[in-house]
Subunit: 431 residues, 4 copies
């Protein structure tokens, strides 16, 4: 456990401007630390100047705001699209990807300011504490982490929101007048997540007003829109609005455009219960407009381009990678290795996909690639050509060997104990 | 290869009433066979009486029409829902499931009529020939299969549709006046599939008029509908339309209702390129309204109920099972085994899911289960209770051991050849 | 963390009679606990009476010695044989299997004696603490665990062996005169393990004198011995020494016999570095004579009996199960599930294997089974029969489709950027 | 099917000098082909001059003998060692690796001599036909293959060995006086395989006289020998006989040395039943002295060096690769991809392993590496240092969450239908 000494040691605090990290900032100062605040801009649409002012007012020695949006899109979101990462088949990992990105910046900033401690406001039940800390330990194991929400002293002092409010009042920490939201939100350029509060009952339908970056499909335009996305090596390199010809090529611009258009059309909402790394289930609601569109387009093109067996292997690896990322192991030997392997499969995922977007739906409707193994002539039902039709006879005959052997062994067998071994085959009866 | 002798041997022909199998019927008779026609009703909405009349007219000795709808839904569709089967992440296997069902009935009928041959009209490039024949060989390896579209003699005689038309004319086989559809269709109670013809160009957007069991989302009602689905042991046992209280409990009734409501709301369309067993890629368009709703509801409940690690294993197994089914191995030792294992995981998938359906979208919005491992109090962000917050500190510390060791080995290392081994960690720079 | 109160609360201590647990026993008494000692006989060849006397002398309220050998063999070793469990391809899990067995007995005994605490002497770096505690929490989460080697208070007091010796002396705890072994040992009827001390340097060859249950292959008899092992449902049900006809049928008797004969012939030694659950690597030396013979025999029969595809799936599952067991999750939802699935595959693993044993080697040399899918006539190179030889032509032709398509796409391609995508094919040159 | 025309088309025949390929050579000439014979030296210890003379005598237009030993060792055996390939846990793939190597040379030779046909003597039931032909189709799909043992015409003419003998006599094909061996053998520098004949009964113990490259362990030296093997990037780069200092560094020299020493000490024999690609089981006996030693040494070093989680992924991939190789897909998109991924994991498999070799046994007894993640101080049982012992408490507590939740859900539950869901936990009783 961290020894909190009284010398003026420097802490770099991941600061959001909210009530929790504001109280933590003050508390760390009171514990004798020299606190530098770090604010990473991963696209969360914050008034960074006022966050900065607030931190200074509370007593931060320095406030560092870094624009991480390009880093995030190019080195975290794009690889996730390229690998087709999805957790438990539905969650696109928006928060899980942002944490190592912010951690990378934290580590660099800690080095810059010569801090030996890093602190954050993540709680002891969540995934984020793990993602932050494992990233930090992987990148610089000499750093120490102060996680106040896991320190008995801190938890005793602050047993609920009221204690924080009281502490804020006493210490002249500005508190926004607005009432506490009945759920908690985390936002970045890839997605917005909602959890806790009223969402904690999975039977309770999520209120429509929680969503902030997507329109309800019910209020979305009545006309579909077509978008062309061009991929090279598995990553989007161009995005064209078919009707207008508007074109985007920078990663950040592509994602911003798709967020805007996807948000307008209600794309990318999910409401799920997921398995946290620590072994709890929790309910999360997410809206991921642009990245959802990219996920669908990439998946379509990938299956179009890749050999079937490569696809099978890649798919297994991507599932593992999604678990690594969710669990906080973005920076780890295994993620580094598997990322390399999955990315290797993407060398031929080059081409163009057209997606149709309409009231919450996003479908690939057309795809083209010079690298596809699709062979129209070979596949054609109207031409015999290229493939000797009788080849399939041998193919089937050989594939049937195992089945016939199984039949021979279990259906011809006379001893009573062999009968009945093969259950399903005999269980299903017509009448 | 099958020896076509001239004695009056009995063939059971899987007959559809279409041009291909009508010509095959006549051709088999001309080759000296005694042909019995089998028509399996898996929900394809056919006028079975006229199919029967046509076969008799052409010369079939007998025509057997069997209603396989309950068999299909209860022993093929329901298990697929229970196992969460999906091929290459998008195809719900509607045709792949119907083939072994029809084969089972074929085998029983062949036995009844003492036929030693089975014949079908599937082509030599497709999956269906394999699914039919492997099913037959698994269930009765003594049967022989005549697949005319793979016999050189037949293929030479019938090189295209014109040859079939000509043969039909000469042999007084009735041909429906309607023009050939510009694509081919296969339909059953689970889905309708479309392929070939204009769909053979994957860049060509599928024309909206191909769809027959779903409305376009653009023409679907403007009001969402809520449906409650109750599962027991992973299979749906009740389905309630929330607004009206209309309730369905028989498998066939549940599926028919969901097809109707899903069709009305444009649910379950996909347009994909898929990998066929023989190694080709082909483009398929599918509409699977009811089963899509069930798939979404089941997936939601499953993640809600199952332990995370069971879910991981089950998920791997279900992916394998989907490949088995797609490739025609429904009746096989491995499918029998894996089916057992996947189904074993479903014992606690009991509960209720509410899905919202709107213009092509189908989302789970609420779920309840007495068997869920979700623990609201434990998960709650507003209560410390139950979980010692400092436990996570140890958890993270231990999980960091490997990461720190990796750092120690590769970042502290002095020899030049060790540096650079760990690429990603150092590659990403903030600039 | 456990609150050590001063009331007379009852602790059940897993007691070995060694220096560590003797000091822990005294220390717990000094902390005010009422301590009951539990000694589980899993075949470790201890003088249990003197262990008992020692505990009483130190101050234990009660000492419970339970013979767990049958429980261990039948419910832990036999399932491991049946599942073919092996960790990281070389470790047969002897200790990992004993821990949940002992835990099961601990839990039952704790209930019997109404203890709410369980204590053990496992250290904070090892696997055993985890195996004990996860087993206990799975079986009765209301129990609390006292792990002195992880309590700061205890660790400070006892910083090394000298402190324990001193404490023993002061508290009149009998200490065996013998010097501390230069490595540590754990023994049960399945295996003996050695680690720590001189073994901590993986480059250091393990001294031959460490082994206690196997002769050195160099000193083993010069004549091989043949043993027949009969399996039913994947577990050994009879074991016959071919030369003498000596027969064993009880699980415990089979294992004891194979340990004796295997030990005599130097079977089952391994010297490995393994990955511990907490993320360390550690070096372990093991001798597992009888179980190694069973592993080899079972593996041979399994491949002989099972369908290839079932074997593939089973093999994946068994690898997962080995990790679960190694990591302490024998009692867990996932292990329960996967164990069921793996065992399901063993229904047809029935038959007889003859193994030859000679100076450290153990080979299957003959196998027979009524359930095997081996078909001598079909496999025979001297008979064409049963299999149409030209079928393979079609089989190969169809399997080549993907390969030819790959060639077509990448070798015929003209654009420069496509060339070179397929590296290996062109890289290897004859020169 | 191949159209055998009467023009003088050129065939390249994979020629062994044996009865089968000699008859095929003559038969092809009689069919009007211009036949060039190809003999690949993969270390099979043949008198290549007399093989050449024989072919010329029979009528071959040309005979090409190519020394493929370095190609085989460096591009097939070494990668297999590096990847740790083993089929069904026991077969090191000696033949499966030689086939694509020979095919590569065949393709190049066919190009050189402008042949459009390739022919071989592999039978229609085995794996080799598939390995040859898939390799050829992958490397040059324009080539055509003549596989006489699958042509009805050829099979009818030659129904057994007697027909071949008769044909040889009539056509003045020299036949070696020696009687036919009661099993068939295939040999290369990696291994020798035995199958068919008396080995076709898996219950029959393989006669000791079949082995040709290994001494019986019973006749092996009474003194063990130590060998040091140095790996770099997962491949052996140096091999030192400890007692003499004899050192080998060229791949071919290393393998030859290890074959000699391994053969002398009886290393690398296995007797197995394996699953062929076409779905049969067959019995094979193999001796693989040198490669077995390398396999053991590599496995030991790999686990010593690699991160645990990388090892898990690598291990899954290597199992797939072994299947690809066994099934003839060495040259395939998937093998190319997976090979790349597995090899990527080997970048840090650098170090030295000492193996002890004695009468059929081969154990790693010592290992050293600058790249290992083994940390002696951290692993040490005698030092607390580096690791906070109480961290494990939190680690266990968090890992127990799922287990406790499972208990809560199923053991506390009151409804009857929930009880009993968790079988094993309650099934095992102490009595």
């Amino acid at each position: 456990m961290v020894q909190l000494t009284m010398e003026m040691e420097k802490v770099l605090l991941a600061y959001s401007g909210g009530l929790d990290t504001s109280c933590i900032l003050k508390w760390l100062i009171q514990k004798g630390f020299d606190v530098i605040c770090f604010v990473g801009d991963v696209g969360q649409k914050e008034d960074f100047q006022s966050v900065k002012d607030k931190a200074i007012k509370i007593g931060a020695t320095e406030v560092v705001v870094k624009d991480l949006r390009n880093l995030f899109v190019e080195h975290f979101v794009w690889p996730a699209v390229k690998m087709g990462l999805i957790y438990e088949k539905r969650y696109l990992l928006g928060t899980a990807l942002a944490r190592p990105c912010i951690s990378l910046a934290l580590i660099e900033t800690a080095k810059e300011f010569n801090c030996m401690y890093i602190s954050h406001g993540a709680t002891g039940k969540g995934n984020d504490q793990i993602r932050f800390e494992l990233s930090c330990y992987a990148l610089n194991p000499h750093l120490k982490v102060i996680a106040p929400w896991r320190l008995p002293e801190f938890c005793e002092k602050f047993q609920g929101r009221n204690d924080l409010m009281e502490f804020a009042k006493v210490n002249a920490i500005p508190v926004s007048a607005s009432l506490k939201s009945p759920w908690s939100t985390d936002s970045n350029i890839m997605h917005t997540s909602f959890e806790a509060g009223v969402l904690e009952d999975p039977a309770q339908i999520a209120p429509d007003e929680i969503f902030i970056s997507t329109k309800s499909p019910m209020k979305a335009p009545d006309t579909p829109i077509l978008i062309e996305i061009v991929f090279n090596g598995g990553v989007p390199i161009r995005c064209v609005e078919t009707s207008t010809g508007k074109t985007f090529e920078q990663p950040l611009h592509i994602l911003e455009y798709l967020n805007q258009i996807g948000g307008e059309h209600g794309i990318g909402r999910v409401d799920i219960v997921e398995n946290r790394f620590i072994g709890l289930k929790s309910r999360g609601v997410y809206e991921t407009p642009g990245a959802r569109i990219l996920f669908e387009a990439h998946q379509d093109l990938e299956i179009y381009c890749l050999d079937r067996e490569i696809l099978r292997v890649k798919s297994l690896l991507a599932d593992r990678m999604a678990d690594y990322v969710y669990n906080g192991f973005w920076f780890s030997p295994e993620a580094e290795y598997v990322k390399h392997c999955v990315e290797e499969s993407q060398r031929t995922v080059n081409g163009r996909v057209t997606v149709e977007i309409f009231k919450g739906n996003c479908w690939a409707v057309s795809r083209e690639s010079l690298y596809s193994l699709y062979n129209q002539e070979l596949a054609s039902m109207s031409v015999h050509g290229q493939l000797n039709p009788s080849a399939a006879t041998g193919f089937i005959e050989i594939n049937a060997i195992r089945l016939k052997e199984h039949y021979r062994a279990y259906h011809n067998a006379t001893p009573n104990n062999i009968k009945g071994l093969s259950r399903n085959f005999s269980r299903v009866k017509l009448t």
